[in-house]
Symmetry: C3
Subunit: 506 residues, 3 copies
């Protein structure tokens, strides 16, 4: 080609490039989607008094497109799961009023606020207007029952009460008092959720003068199993905080890690020490955290919690590898978090209805027999396992993947065996009267036993499942501790003075 | 508008855009601010021999603008707190010589260096030339007294000596020897600071040949309470390292976390596990870490250590929410770090002058009575608490905030109660002769007691204050350990063999 | 200059700028380097079936330039250490087939795969084709012998077996069973490497139908001392994962941290809490992680693992400070990881051939005498220490650096002293029959002793070496634990019931 012709062609290209940039700027301005009149009024005060919330919202997808526009996306790209959205919400962005005024009649926390009827707490039942599939999946999952499963299960409640109750000491003896609501909310219930109730109305002093607001008990709380004033279960903000409703934050493992971490459920801790974690920390700045669908290899190069447990993941060519789910158990076949032993996943989210062979609401007995009728069967297990393997195979060979999962099976057997060894030592202590099993959680040797299954055996299983964290599984909270702990328990037995029965016999 | 007209207009715009880019490039070159002659000479060697330092400085604000220019900023935007800067410093950037030659007469570490009189250590008293407000605030704070408060307090010194002294064992008995200076500097004093003294002159071999330099003891050290050769207290580089003097680094919680972390002051650890930490880790790449003033919601979307404890924070509209302070206690009403119990903040930075009811230099007695006259009163506490609440309210409702702070109060009461239970067990052990209170820190049961207040009770209070880290407060170093530890102490009592008295009686 | 002239000149400049951008775009397309025919065929299936691998590779340097082009770089900039590359590999990029078909005759894992002869595992011996210097350096280092050093050393093997063997409990006694291969692979061997062997052929079901693949034992594994089916030692992917072969990932400390972390080798943990770590976390996003050579001050502003231990580091002016090495011991003069005491680095990578004065394959005796003839001498130590100091001096004064290293020497002495105190207590227990030294690792008091040197003394030495982590060295896993642990051991002695001998005598 003639040299001048090339230059001319290039100038043209450059010009078009410039035009595109400028045009995009123009159109963005022009296309700014409309706020509802109500939300505009919210902003008048709240951009002054709670600017953090407003600025956060401004960065959200909710602030940028209307449901009408969102519905135009292809099925794979869509982040809204309703097929239609009612007229009054369809053509405005999802602002303050659009969420905080929904389903007012069901909200015991609804109150008159400067001319508007406002709900304090937006619940999954409200989000359901645009996200019905997610709300339904979630509502039947273990997460939605996280509070109930703790509170309605007398065994777990006894553990909670034993650990977090205030104690006093008199004449060298420890005397347990009661656990307070506030401490429950700052410990177990912070992840599991509280039951938020409306008990009246409070006058509060604000910069705008006194206003009346609902009196909420057990609040603030963002636990995944929160029971809301409208009767629904869950808090979407637990993972999509707070007014950015960010898919990026929800996909980043920092979010899951708030609750799933050492010493009891060290998913985050072993991920950090895995090769997947290594790659995540090194390259995450370079990945696309917001793309829907999430394209393996293209958008992200190593799995995070979300990619394995709930995201819609496709190949770069839009072949679906795994569909989206907000039931975080749906892809799981085995429950690594041993209560007391690992076991097939429960069939239903409300696990407090389980009854084992000893009549206790536990998925296994103290000696490891599983309450099979409440748990998924081998066929369902196989189905779920093969689902997850599909994801692994996008980067790993079939042999690699099969061998990895074989190792998990062995790890489960051996760690359950190490728990059984500890249980046998404890049973002997109970039998010989060196400890008293009326409360199986309150004496020294009993607490060593708890560590065996709640901290150490769990840790090793998580490390195994996430193909990494070998040091964690060896020394940190793994085999070293499992083995050392048996020596400690044996020592307490030999010293024959680890419990209250013995003490009282003196 | 005519289509061609639009295109024409756009072309014009693109052209102007281009011009601006080019012009900026030009002017930056033209405006490069001048180095002093002395600093230019420093660079001749140091860009060859310590290029890391020079490159670091080149990225600093000190390298980019002169005090003269800095003084032109509006009051809110200004990072320099002097109203004027003396003539010889005003119109050059803040280079090597500008800092390392200040106040030479006060510097015992001043030495002749290739024709210049140079101070090895730049101290807060030198930084004061441009930053007098910060230097003054800091100099009266607990941080400035961090070394003295440890070294001049016989109780704390005994704890230090007991923990870090070398020990030997003979015939099954542990015999404490002395703690070395080097080990003090690598443990407690690394955060608290050392006293750097000049004891003479040393000839050292360098790539440039032998040179004479001051002989410094207890060096290097960047502890916050360092006592400098010019008599001043503190090390600005502890938080603004090292020659970039970065406000970004100081604002990032990684800086504070060097000293404020588990197991004794786990501020960083509980922040990491909080929702604020979750948002920080997920989105920090997207925030403006250098803006002054720091605009809540706009520059950052979740608080870090700095935003609550010392930064100048405004709304996006430049309304001041909290003014800047370099007295890191100034906004605090309660001291969570229980020594031995939590208590109102001390009135002054030099806490070794406190005397409690037992005559010990501690803010509370071993049974929890506070040395009230040395501590701020309820009115001052209320004032400070309401200050911090202003920040919370930029994102949270008044009810949310009030309820949060109510929970902290309860947590303080309960964790102090759990410490008291442990103290009662220990008192019983002392009374019955199973341990010897001549040194309250050196026997097994005494060390279990230390863990109760120094590790576990503290952890729970930090977790409560930062509205998160529930797993930390439950299992990691929280209620689980508080409860388990009481069982351990009780077990030691029952086994009646935890201390030296008993041993000697044999 | 005339104002119009300037404007005119600027327009010209802008135009040239635009041309350059456009031209670059063109040429990149034009210069896309060629794939081999074989690799193109690999892609046909693998971009569908393992898209994650393919996408990862596409981001790699291997995908972007041919060896021919790589060889044209200057010596300092070159990442390829062979002086020539054979013709059939020289002019295509380094794709699937280029690596997975090398040296087929040596590969017991070679198999016929849809018309090609493919090796499952690419080994250091294959990478050697382009990277011979790195492969040779690595092959003689401790890393290459990481598996053998564990497996062929009966003392270390006994420790492994004691910790990770399954146990059962009967009648209050713990009974050790055997350690499984799977658990070895998920704990110790995950870092140290496995011996991957080919035991036959397996038919596996894939999405493409059944295919035959080699049956590999002890696989998958990426440990640094892996013994490969071709007889070579090591796994380059341990640090350059997985098909991006990233120098960025290898340089980031997240990679090293997978194996070098608490509680036994807490290099990562103390780095995180050091000032260097503080700067890394705050500013790493801003550094150049891929530049070769790596320019101190310019590309990075605080050291990471790689900068001190193996990278080619230069000044911004290309003066070499330290040459590249893939023998990760080459710059080390002392081994902080106390086995059982710290000691000069071993002369050779195969440490299982060491014999100490007691005839054990350990670098020191249980009382601290070093097996000097197997360890480097003082002269070699001094040489290596002065090498590393060169790096420190790029940012720190000579005095600063000297004083830092003096402190390490003291720390080594004191922590070895604290280990000796624990050893003396244990010896006394053995002597008096309260424990049985036939296996020195399996009883309670023996395990407390292990913690003294494997967890606590090590931690303090790492913290000292990395000039930071004072809280770690004080309370986390440092002096507090060293001191507390001696009290625990003494208590077990007094209670005289810590071992099996005593038990059996009853």
């Amino acid at each position: 080609m003639n040299k001048w012709l090339i230059t001319f062609w290039r100038c043209g290209l450059a010009f078009v490039l410039l035009l595109t940039i400028v045009e995009t700027g123009f159109n963005e301005e022009a296309q700014k989607p409309p706020l509802s009149e109500e939300t505009e009024q919210c902003f008048e005060c709240h951009s002054v008094y709670t600017p953090g919330v407003v600025e956060d919202w401004l960065t959200s997808r909710h602030a940028m497109i209307t449901p009408e526009t969102a519905l135009k996306n292809s099925a794979l790209e869509r982040r809204i799961s309703s097929e239609t959205v009612e007229a009054n919400l369809r053509n405005v962005v999802v602002g303050c009023y659009e969420c905080h005024a929904l389903n007012a009649e069901q909200h015991k926390d609804n109150f008159e606020h400067l001319g508007f009827q406002i709900n304090t707490i937006v619940s999954p039942n409200d989000c359901k207007v645009c996200h019905p599939v997610e709300a339904r999946e979630y509502s039947e999952s273990k997460k939605a029952y996280a509070l109930s499963n703790l509170r309605e299960n007398p065994v777990y409640s006894a553990l909670v009460e034993t650990i977090i109750s205030l104690k006093k000491a008199e004449a060298g003896k420890v005397i347990p008092l009661q656990a307070s609501d506030a401490t429950k909310h700052e410990t177990c219930y912070a992840c599991h959720g509280t039951e938020v109730m409306v008990t009246g109305t409070t006058e509060i002093a604000t910069d705008l003068g006194d206003i009346s607001v609902p009196t909420l008990t057990n609040w603030p709380n963002q636990g995944v199993g929160r029971i809301n004033p409208d009767g629904s279960r869950g808090a979407c903000t637990a993972c999509h905080p707070r007014h950015s409703f960010s898919i990026e934050i929800a996909r980043k493992p920092y979010t899951c890690s708030q609750c799933h971490l050492q010493p009891d459920v060290p998913a985050w801790d072993v991920y950090k020490e895995s090769k997947h974690g290594n790659i995540f920390f090194s390259k995450a700045y370079d990945w696309n955290w917001s793309n829907v669908p999430w394209k393996i290899g293209k958008d992200f190069k190593a799995p995070t919690c979300a990619s394995c447990h709930n995201s819609l993941v496709t190949t770069p060519e839009d072949e679906v590898i795994l569909p989206r789910t907000h039931d975080f158990n749906a892809r799981l076949w085995v429950r690594l978090f041993g209560l007391i032993y690992s076991h097939p996943q429960p069939k239903r989210g409300d696990t407090y209805n389980i009854k084992n062979a000893d009549g206790l609401p536990l998925p296994t007995t103290f000696t490891g027999n599983s309450a099979a009728e409440y748990l998924i069967n081998a066929e369902e297990q196989a189905k779920r396992e093969s689902q997850v393997k599909k994801l692994c195979k996008a980067c790993h060979s079939t042999t690699w993947v099969n061998r990895h999962f074989e190792k998990i099976d062995n790890t489960i057997d051996e760690t359950d065996g190490m728990t059984l060894a500890a249980t046998n030592l404890l049973s002997e202590a109970w039998k010989q009267g060196y400890a008293d099993n009326s409360n199986p959680f309150d004496e020294l040797i009993e607490q060593e036993w708890i560590k065996q299954w709640l901290f150490y055996a769990n840790s090793i299983r998580y490390a195994s499942a996430m193909t990494g964290a070998p040091d964690y599984a060896t020394f940190k909270l793994g085999w070293w501790e499992l083995t050392h702990n048996l020596q400690k328990m044996q020592h307490l037995m030999l010293n024959k003075d680890s419990g209250k029965l013995k003490r009282e016999q003196k």
